[in-house]
Symmetry: C2
């Protein structure tokens, strides 16, 4: 399978009318063929019309059909074989092992949602049977299920060309919920996107689903994306990217005649709190693990540990020194795109020149283009509280240590933080009281709280929350990773006194889908 440079609209491969977008191999600077001619309003219109036409059919497909479709997508992605990894490596500079791992994660995610669809808990079936004799008013028969919101626009991320892209988490959860998906593929890895998109197309055909269930569009700038979000047939948006990009989509969605939900994962600096006893007992070991997490994927993870907050003193000095040493030995790594590399370089320079920030050390510099040279900085709590700039995400392997006078100042910094995807405690048993004091604040700030781990690495499972208060995401009530993500694309509908002949399968009296329902306030086992 080789990339052909086409938009995928339903079952068609279409040449866009716009200027060609070329991926750049960030390792070499080389321009990659083919070019992807950008879509226009006409292609957005066509994809939306197909999605809308498919919606009523697709959302009522039997659970088994939909689950088999998700599994077929995973099979088709695996069937691409090494061509996908090769293209991904060329477009992103990410190493083979990482992309193979990410493919496994992406296919595992699709299969997890297949199991979720089959189990049917997401339908949240509730039945309050009629009480015709109740006084003063009888109760009608009332039944509730969840239905799909409608066609969903998904914006692929730069940093996970498979797991958060064309057939990534947003696509998997939306398809699982019964929503057709139109992907605006990321321009940094269009070939990877096309290969995956063709795998989804093949799965649509094999499962004999309406073709409008899935399309992939390309476009530079914001034209195609904005047109997509403004189209009346789109009913929700999934996005992973920058705060600026996410905010623009939220505004577009809110200014529609019918505003729609946007699930934008945007910005997080993932604070880590080494507590005193742990810092004293194992500061050096912690420093090495921290640098390992910081450097993972050239620091280009949403959960990269960008902030270390601890009480100052010899233990923290030791941690900083050890981290600085480890960082100096860090090999440089290729960043995803020249743009990301430029932004990283500027962000690091801004910190480097900041009057109240001290540079601890830098990693090794690279000799090829777009190399990330890791960076570690220190500032005081007082200075951090004074300057909002210090709370901005620097996307890449840069981190800032905040020295606090005491535990109260640590807590003050925690309260001052914006919303985060993760917060991490490094603690020993003797730190338990300190951890308990911080925990209520941390729960208000983040979607995931870790103890004695590092935030990079997001398990795809039922209990995961990859989300958090603004600006980590635009909607803290959900997650973008893990099975609970299906609820983002659903809404409840209540059916009053419908005959069994008219009720949807999930709500029929005989419970033909064998769902675990809430009947008359009691949970069926």
């Amino acid at each position: 399978m080789t990339p052909e440079g086409n938009l995928l609209i339903g079952q068609q491969a279409v040449r866009g009318p716009g200027a060609a977008i070329h991926a750049i191999n960030p390792t070499t600077g080389e321009t990659l063929e083919p070019g992807y001619a950008a879509g226009s309003q006409a292609e957005v219109e066509r994809a939306c019309e197909l999605a809308w036409t498919a919606f009523d059919t697709y959302r009522e497909t039997p659970l088994e059909t939909r689950a088999a479709f998700l599994e077929a997508i995973a099979d088709e992605i695996e069937a691409i074989g090494d061509a996908l990894t090769e293209r991904g490596m060329a477009e992103t500079g990410l190493p083979r092992a990482r992309l193979e791992g990410e493919r496994g994660r992406t296919c595992g995610q699709l299969r997890l949602f297949a199991s979720v669809v089959r189990a049917g808990e997401w339908l949240d079936v509730r039945v309050d049977p009629a009480l015709p004799e109740r006084a003063p008013m009888p109760r009608p028969d009332l039944r509730q299920r969840h239905v799909a919101l409608g066609p969903v626009a998904v914006f692929g991320a730069s940093n996970f060309p498979l797991a958060f892209s064309v057939a990534g988490g947003d696509t998997a959860s939306a398809l699982a919920a019964g929503c057709p998906v139109i992907v605006k593929a990321h321009s940094a890895h269009p070939g990877t996107g096309e290969l995956v998109g063709r795998a989804v197309q093949a799965a649509v055909a094999k499962c004999q689903l309406p073709e409008g269930v899935f399309s992939v569009l390309y476009g530079s700038g914001r034209e195609v994306g904005q047109a997509l979000v403004r189209d009346a047939r789109i009913k929700a948006v999934g996005f992973t990217g920058s705060r600026g990009g996410g905010t623009a989509l939220v505004h577009a969605a809110q200014s529609r005649r019918e505003p729609i939900p946007v699930y934008a994962e945007m910005s997080s600096i993932n604070p880590v709190f080494p507590l005193p006893a742990a810092l004293k007992a194992r500061g050096e070991e912690m420093a090495k693990a921290f640098v390992g997490s910081l450097n993972m994927g050239a620091g280009q993870f949403c959960t990269n540990p960008g902030l270390i907050i601890a009480e100052k003193g010899p233990a923290l000095d030791g941690f900083i020194a050890a981290a600085g040493e480890a960082l100096k030995e860090s090999a440089s790594q290729t960043m995803l795109t020249p743009g990301i590399h430029d932004a990283y370089t500027q962000g690091v320079e801004k910190l480097s020149r900041h009057g109240q920030v001290r540079e601890v050390s830098r990693g090794k510099s690279g000799e090829t283009p777009n190399q990330c040279q890791s960076a570690l900085f220190v500032t005081s709590a007082a200075d951090f509280l004074k300057d909002e700039v210090l709370q901005e995400e620097v996307f890449g392997a840069s981190s800032l240590v905040i020295e606090c006078a005491d535990a109260n100042e640590v807590k003050q910094i925690a309260e001052h933080l914006e919303g985060q995807l993760t917060v991490t405690l490094q603690m020993d048993d003797a730190d338990l009281d300190a951890a308990r004091t911080l925990l209520p604040t941390l729960e208000r700030k983040a979607g995931r709280i870790l103890v004695n781990g590092w935030p990079t690495g997001v398990e795809v499972c039922h209990a995961m929350v990859h989300g958090g208060p603004y600006p980590a995401t635009s909607d803290s009530r959900t997650t973008s990773v893990g099975s609970a993500a299906i609820f983002r694309f659903l809404r409840p509908v209540c059916y009053q006194n419908l005959s069994d002949a008219l009720l949807p399968e999930a709500l029929k009296e005989s419970n033909p889908l064998a769902l675990r329902r809430l009947v008359d306030a009691k949970r069926e086992s």
Copy 2:
């Protein structure tokens, strides 16, 4: 208990600094004492500070404590006795039986949420145990629960002075979720609001909860409400009222530094589709039941049937004639406020003068102030499709019949509708195919679908959905009535590798709260 004209800030009764707001008895036009001096930014600030201080404590109260608190509120409301009904009648013009029924519903709602809190399903506990031996990477221990969003601002509705007001559905569900509540009481029934607010205050004291769990503010215009929604300590908003009011709150919430969710229930005309066989078999009987629903509470229900859509012909002519006759006999009823009466009169006049609308009949006119004279109009499908004005809600006992050429035009009208709280089918067995054809459209348009009933009357239970696509509400993913409303005020948090000593009760390994958890993808019974 007599109203005293005070703001309730925590356990204090406070005289506001602003101009006094007086309720008006709509039946007599008489101004009611006492005046409620409006709050200012200072009172908003004080209530928010107390709510914020109370939040971390309140959200972690044991389930039993919180359930008992909700029950105590119900008990205290009942203990006010007839003084509450008398004041409610004077402030709203609603009859005694209606207010007594509404009190029962309000207290029943609080007790329902007490049972929901105790059952603990809303915590949605998920556990993915550690897999230390898993290759290539071990899985950490991951546990998820729901936590409360934070202090909630609730805006009481004019039309349900108890069930959608100071201790109404929004307050009950937010308190159940663990959120402190600050109510902006409706200026049309401030005395009713104060009496109920003092009952909640008493329950807070009896249950020894932090006083900031609950406050009530008054203010005319939008100053107090906007200040409340803009306060950084408020984390969600519940609102029932007009489209203009709801939209203003959504904009205020979206323009905050940290945008927050707004659950605004705003506007619905609740279309009813009498299908051909049913219309032919029992059009007259249907017409009488329709007029009964239309006139309920002077038409001032959010679920009032404002639109009838059917195929034209003798059966529909018979329905219209019978409804017109029944309407002529309708006694006038007092509307809630002079403002609502004025808006109703203007809305009806606009229809009456509309070139493409025919007036069928009017109900009896009243001799006392603010009387609602019911109204029935007819237009054609073609004219309805051409003029957006005809889709605007006329709040009160006015309804519009749309004559369609055939079943296709009925479906076309259904597709053209904006989002609704309810849609209703009147059907017989012979209409089953027609109903099946319409159902997918109706599911996309409304939160509740009824067969052979009338939309007025909203059961408070587990399966209820009182919500729907925009503009019925600002967020179709939830309901404002029924036990599922608790999810509006929650967000998930994941805990990774926390020791049992640090984990919240709901997530401890021994499951001390005996919750029905999802453990390793399996549901515990």
